[in-house]
């Protein structure tokens, strides 16, 4: 995004301090050598006895030391250490390591570490230093240390990722900031004469500020990084602490001042210039209501080329086409092309030009992170959305998300926090989530079963909200044929085994304000036929669908299902005349108050059975404390989805 500052482009003068590197590896204890499992980390493949990270910004180095116990074959993977670094300013030095067998024999690292190119462009080169410790066995203690040194003209305040893939018994972190910080400036030339830090996991309270000016953090019994399905972004759960050189005294001051700067830049970009005011008269009519104006402008912006879904033109192409780099909304409008953020701000500019109260909001993309107010960096803000006030009510819009219906946000922009403008000025804000009724999947199947149990028929999918948006956005990045193939592959996973799906056609793919319809032909073997009976799954879609949260009975982290949703199925089975249904399955109804509901029932009309199933959940993010109820709900749903319909062959057909 071109509007962003490079807040942390700093500079300093070299200052000398004494190095405090660990000179010798400590001798392992008898208990460490003999350990075969760790009661504090049951089942762990390895544990860290100790981790230490030290940064001295005056002497310009980071040092890392680790002592690890290998408890299983998988734990041996920790013998290979990779240290990515930016090669222009940094270098990895003083790598030392050894492996200690459980009998106390030490095998030193003698192989020269490798320095590999990870990625290299004209502007930047990221390398990875790699070494692998020798002679590793289950039971070995791995020990290594290294330094990352950087140029005298560089400061590099640390970012301590305290949680590791494995349990850590004890950790020590230390940071000695650069002295004479008055010489550190950012890209705007502002002096950064203060130091702040933010943290996740409550570890900030444990930081001690030493009389020497340094900061230290000592921790014990640090759990391993959690890994569960449907987790919120890692940045919201992993313990970490980050230091910043800053010109601000408090976090509140940081967000206020930076917010003002952000607002100024956003408003400058979204300036309703004379040209835009003239253009908007071609889009809206003077007597349109505010709602009509807003919708028309939104539709006009949606028609433009969104380069995040196509591609951005290179400098050479812009030059060839005599186009300049976009600097504001007017440029975007003239070029009929822009990035998602630029188009969102263009909408605001045009709305303002039409006399609407429209405001930018910049948020953290919930697909990869959660806004962290303790992290003093506007660089965590990713995407722009627009807010327009219609009849005194805020309407959230996502003009940068091509194919997103008016009034709907892409799920990654729902429940997302950041800066927003309003009539009252600048403030923090969080976007709303949409209810389950806005995200619908209807599946209507018409299936004919023959006496051998074979099935033939069609399924009509009706998608609305996020589900439709997913396929429509895919159609922008690929072509319709590819969308069809991927749609087919996805629905096959939910069909009963033995049933094949062949995609037929879409309806309404380009019309983002309408429902998306998909027609699919199905064939194959569905029913189980015995001498007397024909047995069908009551839930054509549910029987084979993978249900989340069924097998795992405990949960450590919150649950993020991205968006609320309702699925409604109506399956008509036309069964052979020689079979009759005597006992249709009893209706099922499973509820989880204020959260989710499931209902299924079957009705019989002659030789037709209509099985309906509805499941809806009206939550997006749940606390881990609610997992028990969630688990219970889905276990019941999974069981109910196995209900079967039994048809009995008539006596005549049996030959009696």
């Amino acid at each position: 995004m071109r509007l962003k500052h490079l807040l942390f482009s700093l500079c300093c003068l070299p200052v000398a301090f004494t190095s405090q590197l660990r000179a010798q590896f400590p001798a392992p204890t008898k208990e460490e050598l003999e350990m075969t499992s760790d009661p504090k980390a049951p089942g762990a493949d390895a544990v860290y006895f100790y981790r230490e990270e030290t940064t001295d910004d005056s002497l310009h180095y980071h040092s890392v030391y680790a002592r690890i116990k290998v408890l299983s074959e998988k734990g041996k993977e920790l013998a290979t250490v990779r240290i990515p670094y930016e090669r222009h300013n940094f270098k990895v030095t003083d790598i030392k390591g050894r492996t200690i067998h459980s009998d106390g024999t030490a095998v030193p690292l003698t192989t020269k570490p490798s320095d590999l190119v990870d990625v290299k462009t004209k502007e930047v080169q990221i390398n990875t230093a790699v070494f692998t410790l020798p002679s590793v066995e289950v039971g070995s203690i791995l020990e290594y240390k290294f330094q990352i040194r950087y140029e005298d003209n560089v400061v590099n305040s640390p970012d301590w990722d305290v949680q590791q893939p494995y349990f850590v018994h004890k950790a020590h972190y230390a940071f000695l900031p650069a002295k004479g910080m008055y010489v550190i400036t950012n890209s705007r030339g502002e002096a950064l004469n203060r130091l702040m830090y933010g943290s996740v996991g409550g570890i900030g309270e444990k930081v001690s500020h030493k009389i020497t000016g340094g900061y230290e953090l000592d921790l014990t019994d640090i759990p391993a990084i959690p890994s569960e399905d449907w987790m919120p972004p890692q940045n919201s759960v992993n313990w970490r602490l980050q230091f910043y050189y800053t010109q601000y005294a408090t976090g509140a001051e940081f967000w206020q001042k930076e917010g003002n700067r952000w607002q100024k830049e956003a408003d400058h970009f979204a300036e309703p210039t004379k040209a835009l005011r003239e253009s908007v008269t071609q889009i809206v009519a003077a007597n349109d209501s505010d709602d009509q104006k807003s919708r028309k402008i939104y539709a006009a912006v949606m028609k433009l080329d969104n380069t995040d879904f196509t591609r951005e033109k290179s400098k050479a192409e812009l030059k060839s086409e005599k186009l300049k780099q976009v600097k504001d909304a007017e440029d975007v409008w003239k070029q009929k092309s822009g990035s998602s953020d630029e188009l969102a701000l263009l909408y605001i500019a045009l709305a303002r030009a039409a006399g609407l109260h429209a405001y930018p909001m910049q948020i953290v993309n919930r697909n990869h992170a959660i806004f962290d107010p303790t992290l003093m960096s506007t660089s965590q803000l990713d995407d722009y959305v627009a807010i327009v006030s219609i009849d005194g009510k805020d309407v959230y819009l996502d003009p940068g998300q091509k194919m997103c219906p008016y009034g709907v946000l892409h799920w990654k922009h729902m429940l997302a926090s950041g800066f927003r403008e309003s009539d009252k000025g600048l403030g923090a804000g969080t976007t709303p989530a949409t209810p389950y009724t806005t995200n619908l999947v209807d599946r209507i199947a018409d299936l004919t079963i023959d006496p051998s149990g074979n099935v033939k028929g069609t399924i009509r999918f009706i998608l609305r909200g996020q589900e439709a948006l997913h396929w429509r956005q895919l159609s922008l990045r690929t072509d319709e044929n590819e969308v069809k193939k991927q749609f087919n592959e996805e629905i096959r996973r939910e069909l009963p085994e033995g049933v094949q799906a062949d995609f037929n056609h879409f309806l309404g793919l380009p019309d983002y304000e309408s429902n998306l319809l998909a027609m699919v032909d199905v064939s194959g073997t569905l029913a189980n036929v015995t001498g007397k009976h024909l047995i069908l799954p009551e839930e054509f879609f549910g029987a084979h669908a993978g249900h989340p949260f069924v097998s795992q009975d405990k949960r450590m982290t919150p649950i993020d299902v991205h968006f609320a949703l309702m699925k409604q199925d109506a399956v008509t089975y036309h069964v052979p005349a020689e079979f009759t249904i005597e006992n249709p399955p009893a209706p099922a109804s499973i509820g989880w108050a204020n959260h989710a509901a499931f209902k299924s029932s079957s009705t019989v009309k002659g030789n037709d059975i209509v099985a309906t199933r509805t499941i809806g959940y009206n939550y997006t993010v749940l606390d881990s404390k609610e997992y028990g109820d969630l688990h219970d709900f889905y276990q019941k749903v999974a069981a109910a989805d196995q209900q079967q319909i039994v048809l009995t062959r008539s006596q005549t057909a049996r030959g009696n």
Binding site: D479, Q500, I535, Q552, N583, A640
Partner: protein, 659 residues
Amino acid sequence: MRGGHLLHPVLAIAVVAAFPMQARSGIFGKNQPLPDWAVQANKTRTPDYVKDASAVILYDEYVEAIDATGRPTERERQAIRILKPQGRHNTCAVGYDVDEKINYFRVWTVAADEKQYMAQDTDFVEAGDTQIPVMLSTYKERIAHPPAVDVGATVFCESEEVLRPYMHEKVWRIQNGIPVVFQALEIDLPQGGHHAEAWHSFKAVPGVEVAPGHWRWEVRDMPALDLRDIPSHPEWEALAARMSVQWGDAAVEGKENEWKAVGAWVTGLEADRPQPSPEITAFTQSLIAGAPDFYSKLSRITENIQKNIRYFVVSRGISGFQANHAGDIFRNRYGDCKDKTTLLISMLRVAGINAYYMPVDDRRGIVDPEVPSIYGNHMIAAIEVPADVNDSRLMALAKGHDGRRYLIFDPTNERTPVGNLPAYLQGSYGILSAGPASQVLALPILPPEGNGNERKGSFTLGADGALTGQVDVTHGGSGGAELRLSLKDSDEKERRQALENSVAHDVPGVVLNSFQYVQPAELDKPMELHYKFTAAQYAHSAGPLLLVRPRVVGSDAMAFNDKLRTVPIDLNATGRWRDSFDIALPAGYVVDETPDPVSLDLDFASYHSTVTVKADQLHYERELVVKQVELPASRVADFRKLESAILMDEKGTAVLKKQ
């Protein structure tokens, strides 16, 4: 999951002043006009047969100029037209290692509006091979991201690279994931030079000697190879058309001689590597002391390597082909497939057993006996079995042309015992690298007895449909080895999750009460899995009826469909899989109906299944036997018949009636 310890990248966030990098000279070119070959290629009409391809290669020409030492310099010219949005990622890249050099790499685009652009140095990225956690590789790729690559545009790439000096073979991949309209290969041999070529999955095209010692082959209108919607297909690369041309020692008359030369090259390359160090000698002697027979001696050595040498690849130029010295491998206790094979050969030498390197590919069908080549991705060992040794545990035997028997063994596979063979190698080919006795050998397909599992379950069904019970499984052969490997690479939580997911696939809503994996220390003993579970609503009532599926857990069915089949069917592995389940019925219920028995015998497989009732017990029993690893496409009807029978049997429902 295997993986190294990845630390976060350290990036410069503070710089006093910008130090602009010097622009590189010449390698990328500076606004040179579109060369004539590209102008001509751009005139190529997009053919109708491309159908829904995302892009099409209009022109692809390689010229290999071989110097007097046999070292090639390769020039490639390629033109790619983008047809669909998802085709934009089709661009050019030149790979190189420490012993190679890119002389130039130039890229142009003719946009859909016919405007021409040349990529500048800012349009290139160099990417290392650093993403594989267990590998340290110096290989890099220079990747072009030229301007205006959009639907309708054509990208033109021209590069020249001095290739590694020791590789005297060009593998010309003539089939891709997108169609190719025209492609050509030229080799320009030094005076008096010879060549030998062979074609895989494609009818040979005769070469034309366009100048003395300068040969050219042309191929037109090659369709894309798309296996996306084909279940149970062989490896893509096993089916893709390619040609191999040799100009070194392997450029000799007759395929047998060519294979001999390829094997001799490997023999020479690794000649001094297995030399046992004093430490290896002493260790091996103590390891095999008192071993009563050949198998015991052998298995003590193989298991030691399998258990104690960590897999880690160091690939730096020629070390991608040449192993480290046995002494270093023994000391460091890590290495890749070549290293493990080297240490094995070294230790076997100490034990008085001859063993040889055997380059293979771990994807069946890629090494083609009709195409002599070093093309492959893996190294295993061929262990010579003395004539007087006859041990039924040595199943993976291959016979050489001279009548000698070789035991095929993969020391990198840490859990397949010596004597057995991983499924991925069965039915494949390997290059026995035994100096002048080198040859290509067919790797054995083991009998069904060499692999499979036996699953026994005992359950109690409640009148409310709840099922509780215990399952005991023994896993042998390559399947058991795969399970052992998956346990090695997972922690307790991951194992529970994987087992829960697997059982929940068959029994939705299942609660796993307990589970235990039992891995005997000896790799040739089957491993065991025992678990107990409860499922609240396993059986479903319908009025007075209660419906219960006798096949409680485990699926043997492979994916299939009814579409036209043109590629062979990969059956994965031979083996024998047996299930036996007893379900105690709830009081007051009798069996009204059971699924019909299944009995199907085919030449490549058999399947038998029965459901019987004894007193208040429902007993389910089945056996699947697979005798081949691959079927031709023409057998698809039989394959469907088998898989359909298995699938229907697995879905079969018994009907219980309330008395």
